[in-house]
């Protein structure tokens, strides 16, 4: 008396196939889907004020450091105070509805509640000043910000990605005066210019303290 149908004799084949599938899934899915490339890049939150980098940095060609002042001295991104906005908008577009939050902030003294786009884990100590000091351009990490109406995360900001550059920085270095240049390429380097000898840390305390 047979207990199992004859079809079940194909079991070994199926089992083998299933094995392969599961293996691929278990490794592959987290590898891709949990990666910053997939989960972070493209984060494009809606800001309280529709500030357009394309307009200010792109079309008007304002230097990044006009608003992000002191960024060459501090670790932080130096999101400008309302003051800076009002510097111009006290006279320009004084009644634009889009600028209402800015004016309100200026009057009440409450900050504009910008939404953070480039988020690093809290145990990572990234320092803008030193990266600029050795000639890493804004565009390297933030992408073509001058073409963004709404700021979006452009690069997979994760340890692996940081390490790629920390292990081989030269391709990402440029003359100091070019750091805010969004379109700079190595062939625009002045004749005889060599990327400086930087030895970025690849040990833990370089970024984790």
């Amino acid at each position: 008396m047979q207990i199992f149908p004859r079809a079940l004799n194909k079991l070994p084949v199926y089992a083998a196939l299933a094995n392969v599938v599961v293996l691929v899934a278990v490794i592959g899915i987290p590898w891709y889907y949990f990666s910053p490339k997939n989960l972070q890049v493209g984060y494009e939150p809606h800001q309280p004020v529709p500030y357009s980098h394309r307009l200010h940095a792109g079309q008007m060609g304002m230097d990044c450091r006009y608003c992000h002042a002191q960024i060459e001295r501090s670790a932080h991104a130096m999101i400008p105070p309302t003051q800076t906005c009002m510097g111009c908008h006290a006279v320009v577009k004084t009644d634009s509805a889009m600028l209402a939050p800015v004016r309100e902030s200026w009057e009440t003294g409450n900050p504009v509640q910008w939404i953070k786009v480039t988020k690093l884990p809290e145990h990572v100590y990234f320092n803008h000043s030193v990266h600029l000091a050795v000639g890493v351009g804004c565009v390297t990490c933030h992408g073509r910000i001058d073409q963004m109406d709404v700021v979006r995360l452009d690069k997979p900001i994760a340890m692996q990605w940081c390490l790629e550059c920390h292990r081989n920085p030269e391709p990402n270095l440029r003359p100091k005066e070019q750091i805010t240049n969004m379109t700079w390429t190595s062939d625009q380097a002045p004749p005889g210019w060599k990327p400086p000898e930087v030895h970025p840390p690849t040990n833990c305390s370089g970024c984790h303290r």
Binding site: I3, F4, R6, P12, T202
Partner: protein, 191 residues
């Protein structure tokens, strides 16, 4: 539902009987036949004239994969991809790798052994004509059987029966299996 003769089943009481019977059957020159016992009977390999088992080779190669794979993995991960200074030692050092090389070798060998055995035995095979008969139930308990499959070129309903009875079989039975539509692949599976 067409039926088809699948195999002859001969039953014996003792290991001694089945051993002799096996020798007979082999003399008779059958190819597709087998002995079924509740435990491995000694001397049966010779009696059936089986060649040495190939499990060993499978194990050897899977073991080889394990040991070399382990070494490669550790060398690349600690020595090449992200070499870190650990305890002032060189990033990749062989002595520290030995235990894991050994463990992985054993692990893969073990898999090779079990699954190699299953593969060589074409197991799992949950459905087999031989299960059609009630008689066969005692094959795992205390009875000993010889089966000759109908695919065997020398298989002949009359002759084979006679030959088996001549081996002091306690019982000789023709096992039939019901044919299904998937006849075709059933056939090829036999070859």
């Amino acid at each position: 539902m067409a039926k088809r003769a699948a195999l002859y089943l001969a039953k014996y009481e003792t290991p001694h009987d089945v051993l002799h019977a096996a020798q007979e059957v082999r003399k008779a020159g059958y190819a597709k036949w087998d002995v079924h016992t509740p435990f491995p009977v000694h001397g049966m390999d010779e009696a059936m004239g089986l060649s040495d088992s190939k499990v060993g080779w499978i194990v050897f190669f899977s073991g080889l994969t394990g040991i070399s794979g382990a070494l490669l993995m550790m060398w690349w991960m600690n020595g090449v991809d992200y070499p870190l200074v650990v305890g002032g030692k060189p990033p990749s050092s062989l002595p520290a790798d030995v235990p894991i090389m050994f463990e992985l070798m054993v692990l893969l060998s073990a898999f090779g052994a079990l699954f190699g055995m299953l593969h060589l035995n074409r197991l799992p095979r949950h459905n087999h004509p031989i299960f059609e008969t009630e008689t066969f139930r005692s094959a795992s308990d205390d009875k000993f059987f010889i089966s000759i499959e109908s695919e065997d070129p020398k298989f002949d309903l009359a002759e084979t029966k006679a030959m088996l009875e001549s081996t002091h079989a306690a019982l000789v039975e023709l096992v039939e299996e019901t044919l299904q539509d998937d006849e075709a692949d059933e056939e090829e599976e036999h070859h």
